[in-house]
């Protein structure tokens, strides 16, 4: 357990800024262990960028780096990512 770790809620604003829709209720499938969780429940670490990790196996689900008004996003750790209908 890491004191610094947040959950997906903690970066709700960043996620909505990047994806233009509310993302903490989006549901992701981990490419490493296949666990399925809403993004609000994944583990979040903040270093040079934001890292989303699977709460079950710590696999890196996503990395987000903001550069001014642009974002560089790696979603490769998700096998799938499903947004909910509600905006």
């Amino acid at each position: 357990m890491d004191q610094l770790m947040l959950d997906g809620n903690g970066v709700a604003g960043l996620l909505q800024e990047v994806f233009a829709v509310e993302m903490t209720t989006a549901v992701g499938t981990c490419a490493a262990c296949s666990a399925v969780e809403p993004l609000g429940a994944v583990h979040v670490f903040r270093s040079a960028g934001v890292v989303l990790r699977c709460p079950h196996c710590d696999h890196v689900l996503a990395k987000i780096v903001k550069r001014g008004g642009q974002a560089c996003v790696d979603l490769g750790g998700f096998r799938a990512l499903a947004t909910t209908a509600r905006v």
Binding site: D2, R46, A48, G49, V60, K63, V65
Partner: protein, 201 residues
Amino acid sequence: MSFVSRGFHGRRRSDADPSRVPPGQYVTQDFPVLSAGPTPHPSLATWTLSLVGELDEERAWTWEQFRALPSEEITVDIHCVTKWSKLDTVWRGVSVDTLLEGLDTAAEHVIQYSDGGYTTNVPLEDVTGGKAWVVYEYDGEPLDPEHGGPARMLVPHLYFWKSAKWLRGLRLQTTDEPGFWETNGYNNYGDPWKEQRYWGD
């Protein structure tokens, strides 16, 4: 620029010598902890530091062997790409030159790799000639796990993401291999004095 909030200063120091502060950086008295993943807690009994790859002979040290190597105290300024700089930080560690002593290599690139999977790449010439260390003490005390203990890399002339925490090895290569952040928008080299934060800077 964004709206300026009346009376807001933050907790930065404003008395630092400006010639020591790279462009876009702010000096802090704190030592912010930033992490890409959970803090690992390896057992020192099984910990090893390895030198692998493009070498005539690979090397590895146990914790005892590593601590028996000649070490030095280093005082340097460090600069994080998230804009904080910390001046006069004091470390103790083993120079990378010591680790590579007597080794022959055709490598031009070094990949630092850590517990937890983090990697970062640096040119070999940027970690030799007295420019880099593997450190195990900060401010006279054993390096805290949250700051990268038991041992981390220290490459102070580059942004601090180029100094891998929880270091387990250096892989020497003839080819470059962008690491964890270099593959996701950060600069491949990372010179704070040229403000090389992002890819293309």
